[in-house]
C-alpha cells in the first residue's frame, strides 16, 4: 500500500492482520483501564483506606514484611494477636498477597518512585483486575476462534459485579490477586492440554504455586483439573497430551505448593488433595496400558486391560478410604462438609456458620452480581457443549461445579464469575458474529454453511436449523437483534456501574448516610474509637472484643487482641463468647486470667445499625455453648415464648449478661425517663438501665456505635466489686444482725 493515498490507508485500517492486533491491544488496554477505574469509586467517595476486616490484617502483615524483610516475615511470631497464645503468623498465612505488594513496593523504590505502602495495598486489587480481564481474554480465545468473544469476556470480567465485590480499591484481600491467578492458571492448563506441552504445563504449575501462596481457594484448582482429566478419560479421550500436561502440572505444582509453610505436607495428607494424586496415579496406569496395548494388538487383551485399569482405580480408592480411616490421611475438613450440606455448619461448626459470607446464596444475588450474564451463561455452555473439544469439556465441568458452589456459599460467587464471563462472552459473540455483519451471504452459501453446521453439531442441532430460514439475513432482523443486544450491553454497563458505586464501594470502616437534604453524612465511629484506643491506652493494653473486630483493632488501634478474624482457635473464641454471655461475676475471672484491660462492644441501638453485637450475640452464645454446654445455654436467652428480646421482657440471663449490660449501660440517660428506645430492634427499653460493677465505661463514640469499657483491677481493700461500688454510692454495710447457724471462725 502506498503512503501517497492516506484516505486509502484509513479506509483499509482494521482489515489487515497487524492493524487488528494493534486494535485488539488498544481495546484490551482500554478494558483494563475501565476495570481499574470502575473500582476507584471507593477512593473517590471516601478516601484511600483499607476496607473491612481481613484486609486490615493483610495490610498489617504487609507493613511488617516491608519493615522487617522476608525472612523475619517468614518466622513472624505475632504476640499482638490471640493474647496470650500468640500466633505463628508467618507459618499460618498465605503470603502471596503481601509478597506481591512488597515486591511492587521495593521495585518502585528501586525506580526511585517512593509510594506509600498503603496506596500500593489499596490499589493492588484494581490493578490485578486489569490483568484478570486480559487473562479472561486469553482463556476465551482458547475456546473459540471468534476474536470478539475474548474481548467481550475481558469486558465482562472487568466490570462484572460478582468480581468487583471483592476487588474494589481498598479491598486488600487474598481474592484480589487470586482470581487473576485462577483464570490465568486455567488458561495455562488449557494451553498445556491443547499442545501437550511440558513448557506450558510447567508454567501452569508455576502459577498454580503462586495461587497456592495466595489463597486457600487454590483447592478449587486442585480438584477441578483432576476432575477435568477424569471426565476426559471417561469420555475415552485419553491422550499423551493429557498425560504430559497433567503429570507436569501435578508433579511440579505439588512441589511448589509444598513450599508454602502454611500448606506444607497437606497435599499428601488431606483428602481435599487426594483426587489430584489419584488421577496422577491413574494416568500412569493408563499410560502404561496404552503402551502395552500398542505393543500387543489384541482386542480381548485390550478389554482385559481396561478391566485391569478399573480394578486398579477401585483398589486405589479403597486404599485411600482405608488410609483415611486409619488416620494417615486427614479426613475432609468441616469447611468442606459444609459445601455439601448447608445445614452442617450450623450444627457442628457454628463459627463457620456465623460468617455471613458462608451462608447459602439467595437467588437475587445471582442477578445482582451477574445481571444479563446469568442468562447468557447457559447459552454459552450449550454452544460449547455442541463442539465439545477437550477445552470445552473444561468449561462445562467448571460451569457445573462453579454453579453448585456459588449456590452453597455466597463468597464462592467469586469462583463462578470467570466461567460465567467466558461462557456468556462466547454466547454473545456468537450472536454478534451472526448478526453484526452487513454482508448477506448468497443463499446457496448460506445453505451449505448451515449444512456444515448441522453436520458438525450432529443430532444436537435443532430441526429448524437445517431448513433455510427466511428473514434471518434481512437487515431489519439484524438491526433489531443487534440493537436490542446493544441495549442489553449498555444496561449491563449501567447496572455494573450502579452496583459498584452503591453496593460494593463502602469501606464498612466508615459508614455513609444521607441527610434529609440529600448531602452525604459520614459516620466515622469506628475510626474515632480505634484512634481513642491508640492514644489513650498503654501500648500493650489487651482489648477483648468479638472476633469480627480483631483485625481492625490490630490494624487501626495497634493494640493486642484476644481473638481475631483468623479463627484458628475455636476454644479461645468460645472463651470470649462465654465472657460476653456470662454474668459479670462469672466473666471477671476469665478477663483477669486473660489480662484483659478493655472490652469493646459495637452497639447499633442509637443509630439503627444492624451489624452490632447484640445481633451477633446468639452466635457468641452458640459458640460458647459448644465448648461449655453446662455453663452457657442458648435457651436461657430466649423468653419462654421463644423470643429473643432485649426490652423489659428479656430473660434474666440476657439482662445479666455482660454483653447486654455493656450495650445498654447508661443508654436510658439519653432519653426522657421511660422513653429509651432501641432503634435497631425497635423496642422500648426498661426505665432502669443495667448496672456495672466490674467494669467502668471508658469511651463511647459519637453515635454510640463503639463502646469501650475498662476492666477494673481487683479491689484494693479486698472487697468484691459489687459491694465496693455500693460503698462508693454511699450505701453503708449494715451491721450484721444476729447470725443464724454456726459462727464462721477465722483460722490462721
Amino acid at each position: 500500500m502506498s503512503a501517497a493515498d492516506p484516505l486509502q490507508v484509513i479506509a483499509s485500517a482494521g482489515k489487515g492482520e497487524s492493524t487488528r492486533s494493534v486494535l485488539r491491544v488498544i481495546i484490551l488496554a482500554l478494558i483494563a483501564g475501565a476495570a481499574v477505574s470502575s473500582r476507584l469509586f471507593s477512593v473517590i467517595r471516601f478516601e484511600s483506606i483499607i476496607h473491612e476486616f481481613d484486609p486490615w490484617f493483610n495490610f498489617r502483615a504487609t507493613k511488617y514484611l516491608v519493615a522487617n524483610g522476608f525472612y523475619n516475615f517468614w518466622d513472624w511470631f505475632d504476640d499482638r494477636t490471640w493474647h496470650p497464645l500468640g500466633r505463628v503468623t508467618g507459618g499460618t498465612l498465605y503470603p502471596g498477597l503481601m509478597v506481591t505488594s512488597g515486591v511492587i513496593y521495593h521495585a518502585l523504590r528501586a525506580l526511585t518512585i517512593p509510594v506509600d505502602i498503603r496506596n500500593i495495598c489499596v490499589l493492588l486489587a484494581p490493578g490485578f483486575s486489569g490483568l484478570t480481564a486480559i487473562a479472561a481474554y486469553l482463556l476465551t480465545n482458547e475456546m473459540t476462534p471468534s476474536p470478539s468473544a475474548g474481548l467481550l469476556a475481558a469486558l465482562f470480567m472487568g466490570i462484572a459485579p460478582g468480581y468487583i465485590s471483592r476487588s474494589v480499591a481498598g479491598s486488600y484481600d487474598n481474592e484480589a490477586i487470586a482470581i487473576f491467578l485462577l483464570v490465568f492458571t486455567f488458561y495455562l492448563w488449557i494451553k498445556a492440554l491443547k499442545q501437550g506441552s511440558m513448557l506450558w504445563g510447567a508454567l501452569c504449575a508455576l502459577f498454580y504455586g503462586y495461587m497456592v501462596a495466595s489463597w486457600g481457594g487454590y483447592a478449587f484448582i486442585t480438584c477441578l483439573l483432576p476432575l477435568h482429566s477424569f471426565v476426559l478419560i471417561c469420555m475415552g479421550r485419553y491422550s499423551t497430551r493429557l498425560y504430559v500436561a497433567y503429570t507436569t502440572w501435578y508433579a511440579l505444582g505439588t512441589l511448589a505448593s509444598m513450599q508454602i509453610p502454611f500448606v506444607g505436607f497437606l497435599p499428601v495428607k488431606t483428602s481435599e488433595h487426594m483426587p489430584a494424586l489419584g488421577i496422577f496415579g491413574f494416568l500412569q496406569l493408563l499410560a502404561f496400558l496404552d503402551y502395552v496395548r500398542s505393543a500387543i494388538p489384541s482386542r480381548q487383551f485390550q478389554t482385559f486391560l481396561w478391566l485391569f485399569a478399573g480394578t486398579a482405580f477401585g483398589v486405589g480408592l479403597l486404599g485411600l478410604v482405608i488410609a483415611t480411616s486409619m488416620g494417615f490421611i486427614a479426613p475432609w475438613s468441616g469447611r468442606f462438609y459444609s459445601l455439601w450440606d448447608t445445614g452442617y455448619a450450623k450444627i457442628h461448626i457454628p463459627i463457620i456458620a456465623s460468617v455471613s459470607e458462608h451462608q447459602p446464596t439467595a437467588w437475587p444475588a445471582f442477578f445482582f452480581d451477574l445481571q444479563m450474564l446469568i442468562w447468557l451463561f447457559p447459552v454459552g455452555v450449550y454452544l460449547l457443549f455442541q463442539e465439545l473439544a477437550d477445552e470445552h469439556v473444561f468449561i462445562v465441568v467448571y460451569a457445573l461445579f462453579g454453579s453448585y458452589f456459588a449456590g452453597v456459599m455466597v463468597r464462592l460467587m467469586l469462583t463462578l464469575t470467570p466461567v460465567v464471563c467466558v461462557a456468556a462472552a462466547i454466547a454473545m459473540s456468537n450472536l454478534l458474529d451472526t448478526y453484526l455483519t452487513t454482508k448477506s451471504p448468497a443463499a446457496p452459501d448460506a445453505l451449505s454453511d448451515k449444512d456444515a453446521d448441522g453436520k458438525k453439531a450432529g443430532k444436537a442441532g435443532l430441526k429448524s436449523t437445517s431448513k433455510p430460514v427466511v428473514g434471518i439475513y434481512a437487515s431489519w432482523a439484524k438491526s433489531v437483534i443487534v440493537s436490542s443486544f446493544a441495549v442489553y450491553l449498555l444496561l449491563f454497563v449501567l447496572h455494573c456501574t450502579w452496583v459498584t458505586s452503591n453496593a460494593y464501594s463502602s469501606p464498612s470502616v466508615v459508614l455513609a448516610s444521607r441527610l434529609p437534604d440529600g448531602s452525604q453524612h459520614i459516620i466515622d465511629d469506628y475510626r474515632e474509637a480505634y484512634q481513642w484506643l491508640r492514644q489513650n491506652t498503654r501500648e500493650d493494653a489487651k482489648i477483648m472484643s468479638w472476633w469480627d473486630y480483631g483485625y481492625q483493632i490490630g490494624g487501626m488501634a495497634d493494640r493486642p487482641t484476644l481473638v481475631d478474624n483468623n479463627t484458628w482457635n475455636n476454644t479461645h473464641i468460645a472463651t470470649v463468647g462465654k465472657a460476653m454471655a456470662s454474668s459479670e461475676e462469672a466473666s471477671y475471672p476469665i478477663m483477669r486470667q486473660h489480662e484483659v484491660d478493655y472490652v469493646l462492644v459495637v452497639f447499633g441501638g442509637l443509630l439503627g445499625y444492624s451489624g452490632d453485637d447484640i445481633n451477633k450475640f446468639l452466635w457468641m452464645v452458640r459458640i460458647a455453648e459448644g465448648i461449655w454446654p453446662d455453663e452457657v445455654k442458648e435457651r436461657a436467652f430466649f423468653t419462654p415464648r421463644g423470643e429473643y428480646r432485649v426490652d423489659g421482657e428479656a430473660t434474666e440471663t440476657m439482662k445479666n449478661s455482660l454483653m447486654y449490660k455493656m450495650s445498654y449501660y447508661n443508654y436510658q440517660n439519653l432519653f426522657p425517663p421511660g422513653q429509651a428506645v432501641d432503634r435497631m430492634r425497635g423496642v422500648r427499653l426498661p426505665e432502669v438501665g443495667p448496672q456495672l460493677s466490674h467494669l467502668e465505661e471508658a469511651f463511647t463514640s459519637e453515635n454510640w456505635i463503639i463502646r469501650i469499657y475498662k476492666v477494673k483491677d481487683l479491689d484494693n481493700l479486698g472487697r468484691d466489686h459489687a459491694s465496693a461500688v455500693a460503698f462508693d454510692r454511699g450505701i453503708k454495710k449494715k451491721k450484721p444482725v444476729k447470725k443464724k447457724g454456726p459462727r464462721v471462725l477465722r483460722v490462721e
Binding site: 525472612y71 517468614w74 497464645l85 481493700l717 460503698f727
Partner: protein
C-alpha cells in the same frame, strides 16, 4: 541499666534521711488538746523518729486529707473521740480514698467511748467487725492486772509478747521482749476478723478471754449473745491493702498512754512484771507507718542462659524461643526503721517464680545469689528451661506474706516458635540418611541413564563397522 542503678542509689541517699518510706506527714486526730498529754510518750517517740506531727480535731473545718487530688498527709492516727461521727472531712469514703492513695491509718478504740460511725463503716469495709457501741469490753479472769483500780473488773489484760502464729512469718512485734514481759491491754475492745487474706491479727486474746457488755450482760451470758471469745477476738489487728497501704486497729487506746509505758504491774498469777507497751507501740506504729516490713524491688533481670547463643548478653529481651534456658534474677531490699537492708526470706518460707500463660508452666524457687547481693540488697536467682509452648508469658513473682508489703512483679515476654533456620539440617539427622541416599541414588541413576541413552545409539554403528572391518 547503669543509669537506673545510679538513680536507685540516689533514691537510697534520699531514703536514709526520711523516716518512713512513704513520707513523714502524720495527722493526729484528737478531740481535745489535753489528750496530747496522755499520749505524750508515744507521740514524742514518733516525733523523735522524724515524723512531722499535726494535730487536728475532727470538728475542724480546715481539715482535708487531700489537696488538689494529692494526699495532704501520709499517715493518720485516730484517738478515741466523743463524737458520733467524724464530720464531713473524714467520711468513710474519704478514708477509703486515703488508703487507695497509699496512706496509712492507725485506729485506736476505747471500750467506754463509742467508735465513730465513720470508722466503724471503714472497718466494716475491711471485714473487721466491732461489737455494737460501748457494748464490748474484753475481760479475762485468768490473765489480768491485779494491782489496778479495776482489779475486780479483770478488764486490764496482761498478755505475753505477741509472737507470730506461724513459723514462716517474720516476727515484727515482739523481738527483744523477754519471756516474763507482758503487754498490758487495758479496757479494750476486741474485734472479729473476716476471712479476708489482707487481714492479720497482731495480738489475739488468750483463750480464756471474752467480750461482753458491762451494762446489761452482767449476770449471765448466753452463747447466742456472746460477741466473740478466745482467740477469735483480735485485740490488735493489721490490714494491708493490695497497694500495701496499712491500717492498724488497736482495741485499747489506753495501752498507748504514758501510764502503761514501761510500767510495773502485778499479774493475777502473781509476781511483778514489766510491760513492753512502749516497745510494742513503737513497733506497731513503725509497721503501720511503713518503717518496718517494707519490701522493695530494686531491679529485675532476665536473660538467656545459653553461652553459644549470640543473644546471650542481652538483658531483659522482649522475646525468647521455646526451650531456651533462661536465668531470672530479682534484687530485693527490706526497709528497717531507717535503712534498706538485704531481704532474707524467713526460714520455712520460699520465694518462688512462676512462668505463666493463663496458668503457670513453671513454679521454681529462687535461691540467694551471693555474687549480686550486697548489704542493702539481696539478689535471688532461678534457672530454668522455657516450656515447649509459644505464647505471651509472664515472669511472675507474687510474694505476699503477712506483715510484709506485697511484691507482685510481672515481666511479660513473648516465647516464639523455632524459626525456619534453627532446626538441625537434614544431613545432621541420622534418621534422614536413607532418604538422602535415596535422593542421591535417584539423581545418579537418572544421570547414568541419560549418559547410557546418549552414548548407546552410535555404538550400534560402531559395532557394525567393527564387524565390517574385522
Amino acid at each position: 541499666m547503669r543509669l537506673s542503678l545510679s538513680f536507685i542509689a540516689a533514691l537510697f541517699t534520699a531514703a536514709v534521711s526520711a523516716v518512713s518510706t512513704t513520707g513523714n506527714r502524720l495527722l493526729v486526730v484528737l478531740e481535745e488538746d489535753a489528750d496530747k498529754q496522755i499520749y505524750s510518750k508515744f507521740l514524742g517517740d514518733l516525733k523523735s523518729r522524724g515524723f512531722d506531727l499535726s494535730f487536728e480535731s475532727p470538728k475542724s473545718e480546715s481539715l482535708s486529707l487531700f489537696h488538689l487530688g494529692e494526699r495532704s498527709y501520709d499517715h493518720i492516727i485516730f484517738f478515741p473521740t466523743k463524737m458520733k461521727g467524724l464530720g464531713p472531712n473524714l467520711t468513710p469514703n474519704i478514708l477509703v480514698d486515703f488508703l487507695n492513695a497509699k496512706g496509712n491509718i492507725l485506729v485506736t478504740l476505747h471500750s467506754n467511748v463509742a467508735a465513730p460511725t465513720s470508722l466503724v463503716s471503714l472497718l466494716a469495709e475491711l471485714d473487721i467487725q466491732l461489737p455494737a457501741d460501748r457494748t464490748g469490753l474484753v475481760v479475762d479472769h485468768f490473765n489480768y492486772a491485779a494491782d489496778n483500780s479495776s482489779a475486780k473488773a479483770h478488764d486490764v489484760l496482761l498478755l505475753p509478747p505477741p509472737r507470730p502464729a506461724r513459723s514462716d512469718v517474720k516476727d515484727f512485734f515482739s523481738t527483744g521482749a523477754g519471756e516474763d514481759d507482758v503487754l498490758a491491754f487495758p479496757r479494750g475492745v476486741g474485734a472479729t476478723l473476716g476471712a479476708s487474706a489482707l487481714l492479720n491479727p497482731v495480738v489475739r486474746a488468750p483463750e480464756t478471754a471474752y467480750s461482753y457488755n458491762p451494762k446489761d450482760q452482767v449476770g449471765a451470758l448466753t452463747a447466742d449473745d456472746l460477741f466473740a471469745a478466745g482467740t477469735q477476738l483480735s485485740l490488735v489487728s493489721a490490714f494491708q491493702a493490695r497497694n500495701s497501704a496499712r491500717l492498724t486497729l488497736v482495741g485499747a487506746a489506753e495501752m498507748l498512754q504514758d501510764t502503761w509505758f514501761d510500767a510495773e504491774v502485778t499479774a493475777s498469777a502473781g509476781g511483778k512484771k514489766k510491760t513492753i507497751n512502749r516497745e510494742f507501740a513503737k513497733r506497731l506504729s513503725g509497721w503501720t507507718f511503713q518503717e518496718l516490713g517494707v519490701l522493695r524491688t530494686n531491679w529485675i533481670e532476665h536473660r538467656l542462659d545459653e553461652p553459644e547463643d549470640p543473644r546471650n548478653n542481652e538483658t531483659n529481651p522482649k522475646i525468647y524461643r521455646i526451650k531456651n534456658n533462661v536465668k531470672y534474677t530479682i534484687s530485693l531490699s527490706e526497709y528497717s526503721w531507717d535503712s534498706w537492708t538485704a531481704f532474707t526470706v524467713p526460714d520455712n518460707d520460699d520465694i518462688q517464680l512462676e512462668f505463666t500463660m493463663l496458668s503457670p508452666y513453671h513454679r521454681v524457687p529462687l535461691s540467694w545469689d551471693t555474687t549480686r547481693s550486697s548489704d542493702s540488697a539481696a539478689a535471688y536467682t532461678a534457672y530454668f528451661r522455657l516450656p515447649d509452648q509459644h505464647g505471651i508469658f509472664n515472669f511472675r513473682l507474687n510474694y505476699k506474706r503477712p506483715f510484709l508489703s506485697n511484691i507482685d512483679e510481672k515481666n511479660t515476654v513473648s516465647v516464639r516458635h523455632i524459626a525456619h533456620n534453627e532446626w538441625p539440617r537434614s544431613f545432621v539427622i541420622s534418621g534422614a540418611w536413607p532418604w538422602i541416599a535415596g535422593v542421591a541414588v535417584t539423581v545418579a541413576g537418572w544421570l547414568a541413564f541419560c549418559l547410557v541413552w546418549m552414548y548407546s545409539a552410535p555404538a550400534k554403528k560402531g559395532v557394525k563397522g567393527e564387524k565390517k572391518t574385522q
